[in-house]
């Protein structure tokens, strides 16, 4: 596998995590949102996989993790 394909695969992985964790239908009420600990796991993955231009501190905090505007 070429380096370019590895990078593309890694970005796809981050894009999937962005969506699974930060987007989609949110269910409240009696449902328990059990995402405790996920931010740290996600942070670690982004630090490893993010391209150099987004791997700085600002890309690893705030809305990069939560998707909040």
């Amino acid at each position: 596998m070429s380096q370019m394909s590895v990078v593309a695969d890694d970005v796809a992985l981050v894009d999937l995590l962005d969506r699974v964790i930060g987007e989609g239908v949110v269910i409240g009420g009696d449902i328990v949102l059990s995402i405790a600990g996920i931010d740290l796991v996600y942070l670690g993955l982004r630090a490893v996989l993010a391209p150099a231009h987004i791997a700085g501190p600002s890309a690893l905090g705030g809305d990069a993790l939560t998707g909040a505007p």
């Binding site: 593309a8 970005v11 796809a12 992985l13 894009d15 999937l16 995590l17 962005d18 969506r19 699974v20 964790i21 930060g22 987007e23 989609g24 239908v25 949110v26 269910i27 009420g29 009696d30 449902i31 328990v32 949102l33 059990s34 995402i35 405790a36 600990g37 996920i38 796991v41 996600y42 670690g44 993955l45 391209p51 150099a52 231009h53 987004i54 700085g56 600002s58 890309a59 809305d63 990069a64 998707g67 909040a68 505007p69």
Partner: protein, 212 residues
Amino acid sequence: MITLYAVTWRADAPVLDEDGLALLADGDLAMVVGPAQGTASRDDALAHGRIVEQVASAADVLPIRYGATAADTDAARALLREHGSAWAARLQKVEGCAEIAIRAAPPASEAEAERAESGAEHMARLVSRTRLLDGAENELGELLTGRCRVVRRLAGHEELRLSCLVERANVEPVRSLLEEWASARTDMLVTVTGPWAPYSFVADGEDSGVAL
């Protein structure tokens, strides 16, 4: 406790290959559920995403955000009853569509990687980056007009992140168009991924995208 993955039309609900997954139906809708997972982890989140993508490859879905659980199947069915009409309306909005994601950002040069020497220099860099990203967004908006149902800009100050809701028949042509645009933007690093389940277009009050 069970894990909730996605909502789909009952009539289109696919056969589920994975062990432990089940379909719960109520009215016109069905929900894909599975056994409760252990501690939240990256692998668990990715596994969740892959199950949603597997269902989305066969049917229209509302992907449920990772981490949602219900006490049991009765509780999950109660959710389908409670939210059925709202979820059916959202499913209609994304019917026949998939999501394509675009990330674009200027490459970090050695000079930019160094700390700005003054507040003015820092602000100048921010303005320059913002102009570049806004310009790219405008170009993409023009490029995608008539080719996507909705385009939404996701949060992110360091890079431009767009999500496009695209009819499945147009996914490959739109991807090709975006990759061609990406190759021409030698001043930016651009990645195009997808098709994904339409995660970015199904959240509560998700009307912030621009209909094209």
